[in-house]
Symmetry: C2
Subunit: 240 residues, 2 copies
């Protein structure tokens, strides 16, 4: 029998507790756009990113840390915060050396669930840092959960596609008996060469394209344009 570590894909936070995640690496995936923005801010020199689940906490931590507060709801910057969820808002000349306090809903919720359930390592994944994630998973020889943040717990295509991209690259090193993983990999393999076209079919695209975010969403499915590894330590995501 194989001694390879086990990899599972969790398509919604609602399904996380079906898996034993102790001693596992959990990859938090929120492609549109939280984890893409986290990778981008850190790639461009942010000292750290503090993911928080409410606007009030975002404002409070912004004051305490002197950090930049950011968050959107329905595609608009939240009143009381300074910036939005777009990775394009965080170029090096703006974010270098800064702390970013980012309030998101789906991704932050899943991250806290993973910590509460005893994950040994929590990292964030997105196409902009695809290779960094894969390299890390291949180097650690631990069980892996690819955790899709989904949208209000509903399965979404973009997070599933990223899980598939990871699986395609790391599968030889893992034991995978997981139909979600099989579907994710197939969906990605089918569409890796037409991602810009294909993501126009997602429900998220239809929700946000009205706000003129096409360029943003295309960036968020472009591999390795912000290739760092965000690791969660002591309440913050930092580059490791």
């Amino acid at each position: 029998m194989s001694n390879k570590p086990v990899l599972n894909t969790v398509l919604s936070p609602r399904l996380l507790d079906l898996y034993d995640i102790s001693n596992s690496i959990v990859v938090i995936i929120d492609v549109f756009r939280a984890t893409s923005t986290i990778a981008t801010a850190l790639y461009n020199g942010a000292a750290k990113v503090l993911p928080v689940d409410s606007v009030a906490k975002c404002i409070e931590l912004g004051k305490i840390t002197g950090g930049i507060t950011a968050g959107e709801r329905d595609g608009k910057v939240v009143e009381g915060l300074q910036h939005g969820n777009s990775p394009a808002e965080y170029p090096r000349e703006f974010i270098n050396g800064q702390t970013l306090v980012l309030t998101t809903t789906n991704g932050t919720k899943l991250l806290h669930m993973a910590l509460e359930r005893g994950a040994s390592d929590v990292i964030t994944g997105s196409f902009p840092n695809l290779s960094a994630v894969c390299d890390y998973l291949l180097s650690e020889n631990k069980n892996v959960i690819l955790g899709c943040s989904a949208w209000k717990d509903r399965v979404n295509l973009e997070d599933t596609l990223f899980a598939g991209a990871v699986i395609q690259r790391v599968k030889e090193n893992f034991t995978i008996h997981c139909d979600s993983s099989l579907m994710a990999e197939e969906m990605y393999t089918q569409h890796q060469d037409d991602m810009y076209r294909f993501i126009r079919k997602t429900t998220h695209w239809h929700r946000l394209s009205a706000y003129g975010l096409e360029k943003d969403l295309e960036y968020c499915v472009t591999p390795d344009v912000a290739n760092v590894l965000p690791v969660y330590e002591n309440g913050a995501l930092i580059v490791k």
Copy 2:
């Protein structure tokens, strides 16, 4: 704007409560093998099928109704019951006119959840009765939930593929803004011509093939070989 009814796919019972299912038709899908067996028994003349969630209830209802008790756990007939979950056990000469009391775990749980949450109509779907399901959905002009029973709440491939088969046939008549539906349809479209080969990749296949059930599983992905519509009324699935 479109006035078409809305169709959503629910990949696990855990996700059912994310949707308003009142006034909706819920299609219970448990391809390996509960809903395939239900269609087959009714097609072969069973008077009704009583789906129950425990062995004790199965034995009790068997006594009360004089019905045939059936159920498996881990591929073996449960002690105290008469028959298993295989559709092959229910040919016409055996089941015609009989009541079948069937204990299943995943499918029965989802069925009862759908009733509790106020579904207006509950039917069961499987490849053996694919066309009957599609014809019904097309005739009713109501919102639809394609409910995958999954395996212990984990998303599975075979139920997702059946959802995809339905979507491929009915989608022009529904409003579908649902990434799960999009994935289901793609997976089915990719594999409709090599289903016998493809299902050998499912985790369920690996669980059950040790019990020599290959022929059973192949039957369960063959369209329209038991083409009736099982409808849930007053505690029983009957042909409508």
